[in-house]
Symmetry: C2
Subunit: 428 residues, 2 copies
């Protein structure tokens, strides 16, 4: 049977089978290979069992030009990869001089003695080619099995990541590949199906060389624009321009840009500062703003006023307003916003007060109700939304919407985005 697949992936580790560890390594390997236009056809995951490992390795080698093994290179008895590869090859494990040198150097840098369990890691299948691990003690190695190039890699994510460029190079040398010219855009507040419909409605304008892909997360949706050759980069730019025309106000950045970074950029451009007055999100909005490096340029202070008394004492929300309208109300979030702008000495701000749940709801203001006010001293708005789902989801979405509403005001985009309709409270 001829080999049909470029790459097969073999993952090993009892922790992957028990569910105690979520495998993120195969996603790392796949993303790195996809940049080289190389695809993984099949992935087999097994525990630390020599027979299953050997069978799975034989199966993948018979089908694929290259096989990446991930895991099982550590110093403990559970780490079987080298032994299994040797068994499949019908050879023995021998002390590899390069691996010894690597381990000696690794121990020396840490002031450790080279002990027996470390030395185990230097025994590799006869004739194996070392694949350098710049960070960890476990060396990778490459061998040939039934015409397939097999590369064994460590399971520790940072070590694998550091080795990926060399791994990709070796695989490319074997199977060819190329360069996938991928452009990633981050969006907020619009769904995959809506974007696809809008694009389909302009299908005659969409360059046929460009593939549109999606990768959904909470709260952002990533778009992937891909062409297979650099002669099509102009077409890719054309597709991007079309997307900007169709959904430009939802595009918040590129690569891994987050909403808070997009807000930071808008603030820097306008030389403005931002503040937060949070009740139901309890600091999450400020925390997202300050996760971004450089946030000190735009953020000086934020207030978390969870209790009614702190809304009054810290942000000057009048007691009478709290009593008359309740903490989750338009007058209260407007007063919170103005208080935060004043005491935070900031140009623009967001104030939120809502019922995150699971307790605290009423007929009038059920769990998921939130009032948000945003804007500057002279130009601000407020809106009441109803956000279904868990407490976690509520806080994540309220925070994201709050960041987006400020971003929109700064960039002079439609101030009340279309997606708000989904959440607007409808009084019956």
């Amino acid at each position: 049977m001829g080999k049909r697949a470029q790459v097969g992936l073999l993952l090993t580790g009892n922790e992957l089978m028990s569910g105690d560890t979520v495998d993120s390594n195969s996603s790392r390997i796949a993303l790195a290979l996809s940049e080289k236009k190389i695809g993984i056809a099949k992935k087999i995951t097994v525990g630390d069992e020599p027979q299953l490992l050997a069978e799975s390795l034989r199966n993948l080698c018979s089908e694929s030009h290259t096989v990446v093994i991930n895991g099982g290179l550590g110093p403990t008895e559970d780490d079987l990869t080298a032994a299994v590869v040797a068994e499949v090859l019908g050879c023995t494990l021998v002390e590899h001089p390069g691996a010894i040198a690597h381990l000696a150097h690794w121990c020396e840098r840490r002031g450790l003695e080279l002990n027996a369990s470390n030395l185990k890691q230097a025994y590799l299948p006869e004739g194996a080619d070392l694949v350098a691990n710049p960070l960890g003690s476990a060396v990778g190695f490459a061998v040939e099995i039934e015409g397939a190039l097999v590369i064994a890699t460590p399971g520790v994510p940072v070590e694998l990541t550091a080795m990926l460029p060399e791994i990709c190079e070796r695989i490319t040398a074997r199977v060819g590949g190329g360069t996938a010219f991928i452009r990633r855009l981050q969006t907020f507040g619009i769904g995959e199906s809506t974007i696809q419909e809008l694009v389909n409605a302009c299908s005659e304008e969409w360059p046929s060389q460009v593939t549109l892909g999606f990768r959904s997360g909470l709260p952002q949706l990533e778009l992937k624009l891909q062409v297979d050759d650099d002669v099509f980069l102009e077409q890719r730019a054309e597709a991007e321009r079309l997307l900007h025309r169709l959904i430009g106000d939802h595009i918040i950045g590129e690569d891994n840009d987050q909403l808070a970074l997009s807000l930071q950029r808008a603030l820097v451009t306008k030389n403005m500062s931002v503040t937060t007055a949070e009740s139901c999100t309890g600091g999450l909005i400020a925390s997202l703003i300050t996760r971004e490096p450089g946030s000190s340029k735009v953020f000086g202070s934020g207030f978390i006023t969870y209790a009614n008394t702190s809304k009054n004492k810290i942000l000057d929300v009048p007691k009478a307003t709290l009593v008359k309208h309740g903490a989750v109300s338009e007058p209260v979030v407007l007063a919170m916003l103005l208080g935060a702008l004043k005491y935070g000495a900031s140009d623009i701000g967001i104030a939120v007060s809502g019922v995150a749940g699971p307790g605290g709801g009423s007929d009038d203001k059920p769990v998921g109700t939130v009032w948000m006010a945003w804007g500057t001293r002279d130009q601000h708005r407020a809106v009441r939304l109803q956000i279904p789902g868990s407490r976690d989801r509520f806080q994540i979405l309220v925070a994201a919407i709050g960041l987006d509403l400020m971003r929109r005001q700064l960039l002079e985009l439609p101030p009340i985005p279309h997606y708000i309709q989904r959440f607007v409270h409808r009084s019956e």
Copy 2:
């Protein structure tokens, strides 16, 4: 060849092969099955390719008593599971009356018309047995292939989760299983190897019927105490008591308890309230406190004073102190703490000021330096730590340590935990 495995898992979806989605479903399935003492032997993941899917399904059916297929049940053309199962069975897809009824009901509740793409989901392999999906449109189904029970399940995580009890029941009915009596404990501030060494040093006291397992996360480490029969529950309790003796001050709760919940409980017991004064964590500590339901019982307000002027204006940190010692200093965090306790009208608090990076470091106070002060008006301490790693990791660890230091003070545990040594700044 006789079947050797209890369960095989087949995952399908191009998004799993491209790396765009990290598979967390197989971990969900494995954890649910492990509670029934049922193990997954092998997991195969392939894209939406009928031939590879069929081959992999045949392979797993020949080896396993049951096979769970996850993904490929949706309404689009990519969703191939039903068609592939029918092909492997050599039967046709037929409209399933139960599936039609489910879809009609599902659409009705959402005020939608039952359209062609939805209807596709009602075509199941002849003779298939419906597996109810209480949340989504995609019904699950069960068939027999080569003596294996095959259960097809949807890829949407919340839908799968809702179906897991029924899936586990069907698998248990086929392969037996039992009950794994698992007790989970959450710890903070101690590593897997240290715990293992401490336990090994008391090996004659450790009941041999109890297995100790670990599941590491950032910032917490979960311990799993497992026995295989309820006659050993007393031994499990004995092991738990031993762990409490050895590392009791690091045990913060059970199941999925987070540090902030542990703090909340200690505060409720003492009828005390907490406040936060955050610079470098920018609201993360308050956000963790308020992620927990019930936080309004113990948290009234928090302050984010990122800029020096806000430390002075909002928390009364004297300008002279800021000028003389700098924002990252003992006098400043102590003043922040006292200001927060006063203006937040709270009983206990935490104040942090540090250099999260990547910029802002100096020879004197490199990136990773943080001063923390915690305690009550009358009883408080401060410590300087050096936390290596990324900005994200720095903020997560500083926040976790801050929560833990308050928890320790409230519970009258060793106030300066052993792990602090790892991070204490050493002046040269």
